[in-house]
Amino acid sequence: ETTVTIATVNNGDMIRMQGLADDFTAQHPDIKLEWVTLEENVLRQRVTQDIASKGGQFDVMTIGTYEVPIWAKNNWLVSLNDMPSEWDADDILPAIRGGLTVDGNLYAAPFYGESSMVMYRTDLMEKAGLEMPDAPTWEFIKEAAAGMTDKDSEVYGICLRGKAGWGENMAFLTAMSNSFGAKWFDENWTAQFDSEAWKTTLTFYMDLMTNYGPPGASTNGFNENLSLFQQGKCGMWIDATVAASFVTNPNDSTVADKVGFALAPDNGLGKRGNWLWAWTLAVPAGSDATDEAKTFIEWATSKSYTELVASKEGWANVPPGTRTSLYENQNYLDAAPFAEMTLNSINAADPTNPSVDPVPYTGVQFVAIPEFAGIGTQVGQEFSAALAGQQSVDEALAKAQALTTDEMEAAGY
């Protein structure tokens, strides 16, 4: 009997997979699964620590599209090119697959994928006398936010991430800045927070949030905004496409039947403010159960897993955003009204060409270099502090510029 230790993030889809793992062990009685479920930040820190020092504690790691290319370059991941043909690698959405492929080798299997989009309250839009286009501009978003805000009854026009973290507010702001023509670095890896575009981005964001956002937005992340939206306190929410299934789930959401979807806004510069992300499963190079790990990944990211979830929990709850076949499945399209918008959003993201100008890095809402997580979080903290009213936009940008320059220098760019 071989033990496969799996590090996972504590989100709904992963927890569900844990619950369904009996199906796997029934098929593979010689493989024992050990789960290590951790909160996202803790997980990232744990697996990074482990892989960087070759601890070998895990056989399967749940990592994001940010880590995959970096780790793969260090030869820390086992290539998944030899997955069996039934698994059908070609079925994976090209945008997602591209982000997980380095030098022609696939290094991770996507468990679910997401982009971001606008979720809005149809009833409130109607009340405000507006109509949401499929591809709104930022200006329209602002107008709509103004129209929907009713602070006395605790309805806020727009909810956006404010909580510091490279995967929290910086994911949103980086994606947003792309649509404003801003970028992290120019082609010489010089930090760009002193650019006009960043100033416009951040000023616009601050303007939206202070006037139409909920109180305490500077500590709101995905979870907080989700619950605000579910409780009917947000007019619009621009966030991950996976949220769509939560906000439309009548068990959890008080506004399930009043939600509309639109593409992330743009500014007419050719880029939309949406991101691209996937939680993937990968096998670290140090694992002593590589084959069994692959067997597990095959099961967890297969089409049949999707069907298994559908049969147990309904089609709306299957992990989205990874396979073309899913978006061709009528059952799914019927059950998930947001499916089409999700697919369009994913397809609209371009990790290799994220911003208006050319940049030396890949990644839409992140910069795929090892230093980014650290820098991103610190910059996020400055922006978050600005949102909390503790410093001005200029101050925040100046500090961001300084610390980014500093860190990049330390890393030897």
Binding site: N41, Q45, T48, Q49, A52, S53, I70, N74, K163, A164, G165, P214, P215, G216, A217, S218, T219, E224, S227, L228, Q231, K233, P370, E371, A373, G374, I375, T377, Q378, G380, Q381, S384, A385, L387, A388, G389, Q390, K399, A402, L403, D406, E407, A410, A411, G412
Partner: protein, 288 residues
């Protein structure tokens, strides 16, 4: 007690503890020192060679350094002040005759048993959340705008959470100290015409001196390294990045082990400055 035989026995019996702790201190410390002079980036291939004092210079010259030292001292100082002052008051209250003293003591001691992670989670979500937190409900009930505790009053919030966890400790030590006060001394002061306030100021408070030193010493040791409370609540934003947290960011988030190690060395220096300061006071007080 002090025959040759027992002295050599003492040395042997002390050896395991001393050697283990010496190892526990020296081995990682040496490695940390070693790393701190290197460019050590695990995500870029690990050990990239010696860099002299670069890491040290970079660590202090970073704009985050001094604020983090300040944050550390403010949190430690704030928590110490709150726990000692309220600890004394609470101890005085609990020392009074009352019904159900045992149960009250159980209630007061309880926070000490709560894991820092749990306490941070509970406070953050269920009390300080600006929308669903109990404080928000309370504020709204009084018609006030709910405060976004962790961003608008981040330091105060963290100090509050940490103080809540350590107040029982301070209270209990101080209560035991008050109860150990020779009642004849208080009676003597009463005979001497001292009012209750004078008795507190002239007799009880000086008597508590030793206990307060111990509270301060032990708490400082633990407070200098608080981590979970910050990690869970603010993640180091809004000026709550302590030195420990800054090192955490360098080592684990940025995966810059060299830089983080240099930070670790600074933290050790800071801890030792604080410690030397405390030890001087406590050392005197210990065998008195």
């Amino acid at each position: 007690m002090a025959t040759q035989h027992s002295r050599s026995a003492a040395r042997i019996m002390m050896a395991p503890a001393v050697i283990l702790l010496l190892g526990w201190m020296l081995v990682p410390l040496t490695m940390t020192l070693l790393f701190s002079f290197k460019k050590y980036l695990p995500l870029r291939g690990g050990d990239l060679g010696w860099v002299g004092f670069d890491n040290y210079i970079r660590f202090v010259s970073s704009s985050a350094f001094w604020p983090s030292v300040q944050a550390t001292l403010v949190i430690v100082g704030g928590v110490l002040a709150i726990t000692v002052i309220f600890g004394v008051l609470l101890a005085l209250l609990l020392d009074q005759p009352m019904w159900g003293q045992g149960i009250v003591r159980i209630l007061v001691i309880a926070p000490f048993f709560v894991m820092p992670t749990v306490s941070a989670l509970v406070w953050k979500n269920m009390f300080m959340d600006p929308v669903n937190g109990l404080f928000a409900h309370l504020w709204k009930a009084f018609g006030a705008e709910p405060i976004s505790w962790l961003s608008e009053a981040s330091m105060q919030s963290i100090i509050l959470i940490v103080s809540w966890q350590w107040l029982p400790f301070a209270t209990l030590i101080l209560l035991t100290a008050i109860q150990s006060l020779d009642s004849e001394q208080l009676e003597a002061a009463e005979m001497d015409g001292a009012s209750p306030l004078a008795r507190f100021g002239y007799i009880i408070l000086p008597h508590l001196g030793r206990a307060i030193t111990v509270v301060v010493l032990i708490q400082t040791i633990f407070l200098l390294s608080i981590f979970a409370e910050i990690f869970v609540t603010t993640g180091g934003s809004f000026g709550t990045r302590t030195l420990t947290f800054l090192i955490f960011q360098r080592v684990l988030e940025s995966q810059n082990v060299g830089l983080g190690s240099a930070g670790g060395v600074y933290a050790i220096i800071l801890a030792n400055i604080v410690a030397a300061f405390l030890m001087r006071i406590v050392g005197k007080n210990l065998d008195a």
